[in-house]
C-alpha cells in the first residue's frame, strides 16, 4: 500500500508546480482530519484551519470588497467585489452600494467550492479568485457564503443560492445603465458549480434571466462507478471514498447518489429539452476522477439542445484555477473573459 502511495505521490508531483502541490496536498490532509467516519464533521477545527481574509473597502489592484448580510434568518452573508472606476479610483466609504455606471456591467454570482462542507466566501483562496474575476470581466462579483454540509443538507445550499440570486436581481444599484436590468451570470467551482446549475434551474422556473453559467470542475456524481473514477481514484489528491463521504453529508439521509442534486441527468433527473436554460461554460480537468460525470452533464445539456461549451484541460488537476502558475489557468481565464463579455 505504501509503495503504490509513493508512485501516486510522484506522478502527482510531476503534473503540478510545487507550490500548487503543497497547497492542494495541505488541503487534502487537513480535510482528511475533518471528516469523521460516522459522517460528522469537525467544524471547529475546519474553521480554525481555514485561512480567511477580511473584506477591504480600500482598493487593492483595482478591486474593493465589502460584506453584506443578505438574509438575517439564515445569517446569509455575501462578499461583494467591485472594480474601481477611472473617475473614482478611491471609493467614498459611504458609497459602497453606489449604482454601477457603465452601460453594461456583468454581475457574477459566485459559489465557492469545498464539496459542500469546506471553505467560505471569505476564505483566502476564494477571495483571491473573486478579485481576479472582477478584473478579468470588469464585473461585480457576489460571493455567496452558503450554508454547508453536514450541518445543513440539501437543499440549503441551493436555497441560499436562490436567495442570493433574488437579492442581486432586486438591487437597483446593480442594474446596467443600458436597460435598467441586472446582467447576471452564475459561477462556481466544485460544489459551487453544482449549486450554480441548480440555481439556474430555479431561475428559469421563476423567470429571472441568467445570461450564462460558468462551472469550474463542477461536482456531480452517481451511483455507478465510472471508468474515470476507477482509473483515477487516489491518484491526484482525490479519492472515491472522500467523494462518497461528501455526498452522504450533503444529500438527504438515506438518498443515494442518483438523487437529482448529485446526478441531474441520471435516472431521477429530468431533461431540459424545451427549457430556456442559460448558455454554459463547463471546465473539466483531465485528471479529475469525476470527469465522466462532468462530461455526462455536458452531454445532457447538449442532448436537450442547450448551448454549452466544454473546456477539457487534459493535464489539469483539481484546484488548477487557484494559482496562476500553469497554462490551464490562463486558458480558462481567457475563455471566461470571452464568455462573459460576449453579451456586452
Amino acid at each position: 500500500m505504501a509503495r503504490s502511495n509513493e508512485v501516486n505521490l510522484n506522478e502527482c508531483k510531476m503534473v503540478v508546480p510545487l507550490n500548487t502541490w503543497v497547497l492542494i496536498s495541505n488541503f487534502k490532509l487537513a480535510y482528511n482530519l475533518l471528516r469523521r467516519p460516522d459522517g460528522t464533521f469537525n467544524r471547529h477545527l475546519a474553521e480554525f484551519l481555514d485561512r480567511k481574509v477580511p473584506a477591504n473597502a480600500n482598493p487593492v489592484d483595482g478591486v474593493f470588497s465589502f460584506d453584506v448580510l443578505i438574509d438575517r434568518g439564515t445569517s446569509l452573508l455575501s462578499r461583494i467585489y467591485r472594480p474601481t472606476t477611472a473617475e473614482e479610483p478611491q471609493p467614498n466609504i459611504a458609497e459602497l452600494e453606489k449604482p454601477v455606471t457603465a452601460a453594461v456591467v456583468p454581475v457574477i454570482i459566485f459559489f465557492h467550492g469545498g464539496s459542500f462542507a469546506h471553505s467560505s466566501a471569505n476564505s483566502a483562496i476564494y477571495d483571491t479568485l473573486c478579485r481576479r474575476l472582477v478584473r478579468l470581466c470588469k464585473a461585480v462579483v457576489v460571493s455567496v457564503n452558503y450554508r454547508r454540509a453536514p450541518e445543513n443538507r440539501y437543499p440549503c445550499a441551493y436555497d441560499d443560492g436562490w436567495t442570493a440570486l433574488k437579492w442581486v436581481n432586486s438591487r437597483p444599484w446593480l442594474q446596467s445603465q443600458k436597460d435598467s436590468k441586472v446582467h447576471i451570470y452564475l459561477a462556481g467551482d466544485s460544489s459551487g458549480g453544482n449549486i450554480a446549475h441548480h440555481v439556474a434551474l430555479r431561475a428559469i422556473e421563476s423567470g429571472i434571466d441568467i445570461l450564462g453559467s460558468i462551472l469550474l470542475n463542477p461536482m456531480f456524481g452517481g451511483q455507478e462507478r465510472t471508468e474515470s473514477e476507477k482509473r483515477l481514484d487516489g491518484k491526484y489528491f482525490v479519492t472515491l471514498r472522500d467523494r462518497d463521504w461528501y455526498w452522504r453529508a450533503y444529500l438527504p439521509e438515506g438518498e443515494d447518489r442518483d438523487h437529482p442534486a448529485c446526478n441531474p441527468f441520471g435516472p431521477n433527473g429530468r431533461s431540459l429539452e424545451g427549457i430556456k436554460f442559460p448558455k454554459s461554460l463547463v471546465v473539466v480537468a483531465g485528471l479529475d476522477l469525476i470527469q465522466d460525470w462532468q462530461l455526462a452533464y455536458v452531454e445532457g445539456l447538449k442532448k436537450a439542445g442547450q448551448e454549452v461549451k466544454l473546456l477539457y484541460m487534459e493535464q489539469a488537476t483539481i484546484g488548477f484555477y487557484l494559482l496562476p502558475n500553469n497554462h490551464h489557468f490562463h486558458t480558462v481565464m481567457d475563455e471566461i473573459s470571452k464568455f462573459v463579455s460576449s453579451d456586452c
Binding site: V22, N42, F48, L49, K52, I93, E151
Partner: protein, 538 residues
C-alpha cells in the same frame, strides 16, 4: 445596512505577480512564496521542497493509522495554520513521528491537561446551528418584518445621514465649525425620518451627539460626561452580559493563563482592571480541577480608587476568596487602587521572584497611548516594567479597531463603521436592561473616541497588527493561541450567543467578530529573555 471592515491592512493579493503580498504585520520577506501567501500560507520558496516532503510523510503516517486520525484531530492542539511547515510538524508529532528541527517555539501538547473549562464544553456536541436557528426563528421573523418596513425613503435617508456625518466630520477637522453646526441641525432633522430603533439610525444618533459635543466644547461650552467609576462598572457588567465580547476575552485569556501555569505551584495573576472580577471565578475553578491539584493563587487586582471611601477592590477580593475556599484553592488577594494604569509601580504588585506571573490586560493598554510620542511615554514605561517582572504570560485583549489615528476624519470614519457593526451585533441581544445599558456603555466609548482629545481621550484603540509591532519592539514575543482555545471560543459562542458571531484565527491570535468583521482580538505574550538581566526564570 452598509458594512465594511476598514481595519485590515492590505488584505488583497496582487494579481499574477510573484511579489509577496503583505497579508500580515511582518515586513514582506523576500523569500516567501507569493502565491501561497495569497492563499493565506507562509512558506519560504527555499523550503517548499522540505515542506512537500513533510506533507508526504504526514500522509504516510495518516495512512498507517486511519482509525486514529480523526480522533487525534479532535484531541490534538494545533497552532498557527498559516505557518505550514510548523503546522505539518505538529501533526507529525501527533502521529509520533519525530519531525525535523522546526523553528516553532511552541510544542504541541497532547491532551493530558484537559481543564474543567474544556471538559464542560466537550460534553456538548459540536454545534447544531439549525436547532439554534429554530429557537430564534419566530423572533427573527418579527424582527425581519420590522426591518422590511424600511421604506425606500428611509434607506435613502440612511445613506444621506452617513454622507452628512462624514461631511460634518470633515468640517470639524478643517475647523469650519459654523458649517458643522448647521449640519448637526440638518442631521437631527433627518433622524426623524430614519428608524432610530435599529440599524444606521441608532448609531448615527450617537455619533451626531458626539460630534455636537465636540463642536460645542470647541466653542467653549459643554463638558464630557465621563461617568463615575461606579456607573462604569455597572455598564461594563451589562455589556458583559449582553454580548459575548468580554466573555470571549475572559475565557480566551484564562485558557492561555491556565496553560502557562501548568506545572507551577505558586502563581500570581495581575489584573490591570479588576472591575467586578468577572474573569476570575472560571480560572479559580479551572485551577481547582487541574490534575495534580491547584497551585497557590495570588491575585492582584488594579482598579480606580472609589470616591466614597468604600474599599470595593477588597470586597471583590473577599468574594473571590470565598469562592476559592469553597473549591479548596489557596488564595490571596491584593487590591491596588490607581486612577491611571501609568500610576502603578511594579513594587506595588509585590511579585515574588519564585512565582509564575500572568499579567492580564483586557482593553487597558490602549489607554496608555497618549498621542505625544515622548521617550518615556506611559506605554513604554508600563511595558518595560511588565517585562521586568518576567511574566510567564501576558494576555492582551484589545478592540480590533484603528481609533487612534491623528486625523480626526479618519478616526471618525473608522469609528462609524466599527460601532455600527457592534451595534448591529447587539440587535441580537434579547435581554433587558442588559441590552439598553450595554448600548450606553458603547455610546460612552463612541463619545470618548469622537469628542475627546489629549489626555481625556483614553479610548485609543489600535488594531492587532499595530499591537504586534509595538509589543515585539518592546521585547515581547507572541505565544500562539491554539485550536483548543479556538474550539472553546466557538462552542461557547454557539451556546450563549446569537448566530452571526465568528471566531477567527490569525497567526496565533484569536479574534471575535460579527459576520466576518473582527471587533475584538486576543493575544498572548512572553518577555523575550534579556541575557543581561538577573531575573530568575520561573
Amino acid at each position: 445596512m452598509l458594512r465594511y471592515d476598514s481595519t485590515s491592512s492590505s488584505a488583497g493579493s496582487s494579481s499574477g505577480s510573484l511579489s509577496s503580498s503583505s497579508s500580515s504585520s511582518k515586513p514582506p520577506q523576500q523569500d516567501i512564496d507569493g502565491l501561497l501567501a495569497g492563499a493565506g500560507y507562509k512558506v519560504r520558496s527555499s523550503e517548499l521542497r522540505q515542506v512537500a516532503q513533510r506533507l508526504e510523510r504526514l500522509e504516510t503516517a495518516m495512512g498507517n493509522s486511519p482509525a486514529d486520525f480523526s480522533q487525534l484531530a479532535s484531541d490534538a492542539i494545533l497552532y498557527n495554520p498559516s505557518d505550514l511547515a510548523c503546522w505539518v510538524d505538529s501533526l507529525l508529532t501527533e502521529f509520533a513521528e519525530p519531525p525535523p528541527t522546526c523553528s516553532s517555539d511552541f510544542i504541541v501538547d497532547p491532551v493530558n491537561n484537559q481543564t474543567v473549562v474544556n471538559s464542560a464544553w466537550t460534553a456538548a456536541e459540536p454545534h447544531t446551528p439549525q436547532v439554534h436557528q429554530n429557537i430564534t426563528y419566530d423572533e427573527q421573523q418579527s424582527l425581519d418584518n420590522q426591518l422590511t418596513v424600511v421604506t425606500a425613503m428611509e434607506e435613502d435617508s440612511g445613506i444621506r445621514l452617513v454622507h452628512m456625518l462624514m461631511t460634518c466630520a470633515e468640517c470639524v477637522q478643517s475647523g469650519d465649525l459654523s458649517l458643522a453646526t448647521s449640519l448637526i441641525d440638518d442631521m437631527q432633522g433627518l433622524l426623524t425620518h430614519v428608524n432610530t430603533i435599529c440599524g444606521i439610525g441608532k448609531v448615527a444618533g450617537h455619533f451626531i451627539d458626539a460630534l455636537s459635543r465636540r463642536i460645542f466644547q470647541g466653542m467653549g461650552g459643554g463638558s464630557v460626561n465621563g461617568g463615575s467609576a461606579f456607573e462604569n462598572e455597572i455598564l461594563y457588567h451589562h455589556f458583559y452580559e449582553a454580548c459575548p465580547y468580554l466573555k470571549f476575552a475572559h475565557f480566551t485569556a484564562n485558557q492561555a493563563i491556565l496553560e502557562a501555569f501548568d506545572g507551577h505551584d505558586c502563581v500570581h495573576v495581575v489584573d490591570f482592571n479588576l472591575m467586578h472580577g468577572l474573569q476570575w471565578p472560571a480560572l479559580i475553578q479551572a485551577l481547582a480541577l487541574r490534575p495534580g491539584g491547584p497551585p497557590l493563587l495570588r491575585l492582584t487586582g488594579i482598579g480606580p480608587p472609589p470616591p466614597d471611601g468604600r474599599d470595593s477592590l477588597r470586597e471583590i477580593g473577599l468574594r473571590l476568596a470565598e469562592l476559592a475556599r469553597s473549591v479548596n484553592v489557596r488564595f490571596a488577594f491584593r487590591g491596588v487602587a490607581a486612577s491611571r494604569l501609568e500610576d502603578v509601580k511594579p513594587w506595588m504588585l509585590q511579585v515574588n521572584p519564585k512565582e509564575a506571573v500572568a499579567v492580564n490586560s483586557i482593553m487597558q493598554l490602549h489607554r496608555l497611548l497618549g498621542c505625544e510620542q515622548t521617550r518615556n511615554s506611559p506605554i513604554d514605561t508600563v511595558l518595560s516594567w511588565i517585562r521586568g517582572l518576567n511574566p510567564k504570560i501576558m494576555t492582551v485583549v484589545e478592540q480590533e479597531a484603528n481609533h487612534n489615528q491623528p486625523g480626526f476624519l479618519d478616526r471618525f470614519t473608522e469609528a462609524l463603521y466599527y460601532y455600527s457593526t457592534m451595534f448591529d451585533s447587539l440587535e441580537a441581544c434579547r435581554i433587558q436592561p442588559e441590552k439598553a445599558l450595554a448600548e450606553i456603555y458603547i455610546q460612552r466609548e463612541i463619545g470618548n473616541v469622537v469628542s475627546c482629545e489629549g489626555s481625556a481621550r483614553v479610548e485609543r484603540h489600535e488594531p492587532l497588527a499595530k499591537w504586534r509591532r509595538r509589543l515585539s519592539g518592546a521585547g515581547f514575543r507572541a505565544l500562539r493561541l491554539g485550536s483548543n482555545a479556538f474550539k472553546q471560543a466557538s462552542m461557547l459562542l454557539t451556546l450563549f450567543s446569537a448566530e452571526g458571531y465568528s471566531v477567527e484565527e490569525n497567526e496565533g491570535c484569536l479574534s471575535l467578530g460579527w459576520h466576518s468583521s473582527p471587533l475584538i482580538a486576543a493575544s498572548a505574550w512572553q518577555a523575550v529573555p534579556a541575557w543581561d538581566n538577573h531575573m530568575s526564570s520561573s
